[in-house]
């Protein structure tokens, strides 16, 4: 039998979130194709199968069960809800979950969450970085005192994730946090923006997904709230969010999870040359290099690198099991050299994970919409570990207590 490493691909190409889901899925699949075009993972060919979740948890679970049976070694659930559900199932099945830039923030604690890998950053990091950024703009954290920040969020676990960090920050720096939930899917936000207009916050953080983002921007236009004062989560900072608002969204900022829209990155060029040029591209060419496409690619790369790293220990050119891949992800060491070789120079910074740290790194930039495209407008930030670490630990401990789990021993970490 040929040596093939199977990658399940959970996607949503239909439904309310399709405009965002499609480019992500295309990036993901294109990267896998690129790896194959370059000879596979040390000679092991990648096979993959898409499964449509429609962003619905029960369908996601069904996809998981189905693709698991086909020999999946790593899952990327691509929805907070599905992540929650799979977190319960993965340990029994011994399949790691990569949730790059989403999922439960406390799962960064590998001591409790053995099978979860929120690589490259969690929502808590994202929220923390936004605070840091505006503090910098204001001229220091102390300048935040008395300021008012409104969080306009998707009323769901996803939208509520940043609240503890922001509350913590608000307490220490003395700024006001106004919470404005928006009922999913967020097509009607008039009341929310009337409240914004009334309280005139200094900044608005936009924690939305899908149609909610563009609707928020349009309401901001209609109520005259300056877009420059709006900062989005990294899922609210892609082309579909601003495309049909166009010029009116000019000045709107969002966090960039390491990367932004970088059509001229090396890896993107590779895809154009080795995949699209051969007519094997998954989506339209124009979309290649867009924000969510890049994120899909990045996520795929992390999975592939996990397998590659595992092969280093368990045998090059072999097909890895879920457990072996888990080790690979836990011992990921993507230094600058490797990244450069992969073509990710300028797209992301090095990541290295460990038994306790399943996040690896949390580098983030801010990018801004200029009416036509996204461009970086800040330097790199990282989440403030002094604040985040204790929070992660406390939350993870609570989870462990609820589940009657023991923290992993150092011995277990070696395995």
């Amino acid at each position: 039998q040929a040596k093939e490493q199977f990658f399940p691909v959970l996607v949503y190409r239909t439904g309310a979130y399709a405009p965002n889901g499609v480019p992500f899925a295309n990036g993901y699949v294109d990267y896998l194709k690129l790896v194959n075009a370059q000879g596979g993972i040390n000679g092991v060919k990648i096979t993959f199968e898409e499964c449509e979740t429609g962003y619905a948890t029960d369908r996601g679970v069904e996809c998981y069960e189905r693709l698991k049976g086909k020999g999946a070694t790593v899952f990327q659930p691509l929805s907070t809800g599905i992540t929650f559900a799979l977190t319960e199932k993965a340990p029994a099945d011994k399949i790691p979950l990569i949730t790059a830039g989403y999922g439960r923030s406390e799962s960064a604690d590998g001591g409790v969450f053995k099978w979860n890998f929120p690589l490259l950053g969690t929502y808590w990091v994202n929220a923390d970085v936004l605070v840091q950024h505006i503090a910098k703009k204001e001229g220091g954290l102390d300048k935040l005192k008395g300021k008012k920040i409104a969080l306009v969020y998707h009323d769901s676990p996803f939208g509520k994730e940043p609240i503890p960090v922001l509350q913590e920050r608000a307490r220490t720096h003395g700024f006001d946090l106004q919470l404005l939930p928006v009922t999913a899917p967020g097509v009607e936000q008039k009341a929310t923006w009337l409240q914004v207009r009334q309280s005139r916050p200094d900044y608005v953080f936009l924690w939305g997904w899908g149609v909610m983002n563009s609707a928020a921007l349009k309401e901001a236009v209609a109520t005259g709230y300056p877009r420059e004062k709006m900062y989005g989560v990294w899922w609210a900072g892609a082309e579909p969010d601003v495309k049909d608002v166009g010029d009116n969204a000019k000045g709107y900022n969002a966090a960039a999870m390491q990367h932004g829209a970088q059509p001229d990155a090396k890896v993107v060029q590779n895809i154009m040359a080795q995949v699209h040029a051969k007519g094997q591209g998954t989506g339209p060419k124009e979309e290649v290099g867009s924000v969510l496409y890049m994120r899909g690619m990045l996520s795929a790369m992390l999975g592939v690198e996990g397998v590659k790293r595992a092969q280093e220990r368990f045998g090059k050119g072999k097909v890895m099991t879920g457990e072996q891949t888990r080790w690979g992800l836990e011992n990921l060491a993507l230094d600058q050299k490797k990244l450069d070789a992969l073509g990710f120079a300028g797209v992301m910074r090095p990541v290295s994970t460990s038994c306790v740290d399943h996040m690896g790194s949390g580098w983030t930039r801010i990018h801004t919409w200029d009416g036509k495209k996204w461009g970086f407008t800040s330097d790199w930030y990282e989440g403030d570990q002094q604040i985040l670490k204790p929070m992660v630990k406390a939350a993870a401990d609570k989870y462990a207590a609820e589940k009657k789990l023991e923290r992993r021993t150092p011995a277990d970490c070696q395995s």
């Binding site: 449509e52 029960d58 929650f84 559900a85 199932k89 676990p157 509520k160 939930p181 589940k403």
Partner: protein, 354 residues
């Protein structure tokens, strides 16, 4: 010729009141249950359990609950998801807040929570009727969705509003493997279905149906609308609540309010209508249809090796699903259960038509 009740004389009313008065039916059902308990575990794969059988069983239970309300009592509800959520979060709270809470008790108590809220939301039904009531029940749906997101106490202060349970245990039996879960659900659902069937063929069931068919006449023969409607809401929510608890505990293991969204409510309504209003058996048919159909449609292209894109496949799936629903409604507006009994009637006449 095989399927006849000829020669099967009932010597007591009791015998005539059995769930399946015809011997052949009893044998078939007996075999079916035996098959489910003994043969299925020998053949089913893990995927079958987790993605099909367990959801099918749990949703059947919810459909039975909804059928009591809609099919038997005639009160259309679009808020079933809410009562599932209440059952799930209720059971969860009993589980985490009371040390050593037995699983079964938690599930039942979850059902009780749903019952209480169900009765509360049932009160307007005394005045509001038909489609007005149907839409008004969405108030329950959106209100509970909101409550479980907003009121932290319900989710044991989880920052995101999502909760999880594990380590299910019943009288020393650790329910961990998919097979365990399947058997547990199977037993639970069969018992519940039996209870539900008993209710609907007792006088309380007749009161519900009387309310459904002609409420003024029902009142004239001494049925109190308040009692009939509220018990229907109560019993229905009880089953739905337990189903919700099972869905959370056994199927998902971890859930957020979105697991019980309005889509779930519609899905359940589909089940009872496709399956057959006013039929316990129909609830199973409906659940099977709605659970299996999309999965099957989804896998057909891959299984046949037709290379179409995921998006197109799922659009086609939605189209075929919608078309099939319409098709079945046209073939038999009273659902699969009626189709089934018509088929049986034909069989009874076979080989002589009519």
């Amino acid at each position: 010729m095989l399927y006849r009740e000829n020669g099967q004389f009932k010597t007591s009313y009791r015998a005539d009141q059995q769930i399946f008065p015809i011997l052949q039916d009893r044998v078939v059902i007996g075999l079916l249950i035996a098959f489910a308990f003994f043969a299925v575990p020998m053949m089913a794969s893990e995927y079958m359990y987790r993605a099909i059988l367990v959801p099918f069983l749990i949703l059947s239970l919810a459909a039975i609950g909804l059928n009591i309300l809609v099919g038997y009592c005639g009160q259309i509800s679009l808020g079933t998801g809410a009562f599932m959520a209440i059952g799930a979060y209720g059971a969860y709270n009993f589980m985490v807040r009371i040390e050593g809470m037995p699983l079964l008790a938690a599930l039942v108590l979850g059902g009780v929570c749903a019952t209480v809220v169900g009765v509360l939301f049932g009160i307007p039904s005394l005045r509001i009727k038909g489609l007005y009531l149907a839409v008004a029940t969405l108030a329950a749906q959106f209100f509970t969705d909101w409550s479980f997101l907003r009121i932290k106490w319900f989710t044991n202060d989880s920052s995101s509003g999502s909760v999880s349970v594990s380590g299910l245990k019943l009288l020393g039996w650790n329910i961990t493997t998919p097979l365990d879960k399947y058997l547990f659900c199977l037993g639970f659902v069969i018992v519940c279905a039996w209870l539900a069937k008993n209710l609907v063929r007792s006088h309380i069931g007749r009161e519900w149906m009387a309310m459904r068919d002609m409420d003024v006449a029902a009142a004239v023969i001494g049925i109190r609308p308040i009692y009939a409607k509220l018990t229907a809401f109560a019993v229905s929510s009880f089953f739905v609540g337990m189903a919700g608890a099972l869905w959370g505990f056994v199927h998902l293991g971890s859930w957020e309010p979105a697991a019980f969204s309005i889509d779930r409510s519609f899905q359940l309504l589909f089940m009872v209508i496709i399956g057959g209003l006013g039929s316990i058996m129909g609830s199973f048919f409906g659940a099977a249809f709605i659970v299996i159909l999309p999965i099957a449609l989804n896998q057909i292209p891959a299984a046949m090796g037709i290379p179409i894109s995921t998006a197109l496949a799922s659009h086609l799936e939605a189209m075929i699903f919608g078309a099939l629903i319409v098709f079945f409604l046209i073939v038999e507006p009273h659902g699969l259960a009626r189709l089934w009994s018509t088929a049986k009637e034909k069989l009874r006449l076979w080989p002589f038509p009519h």
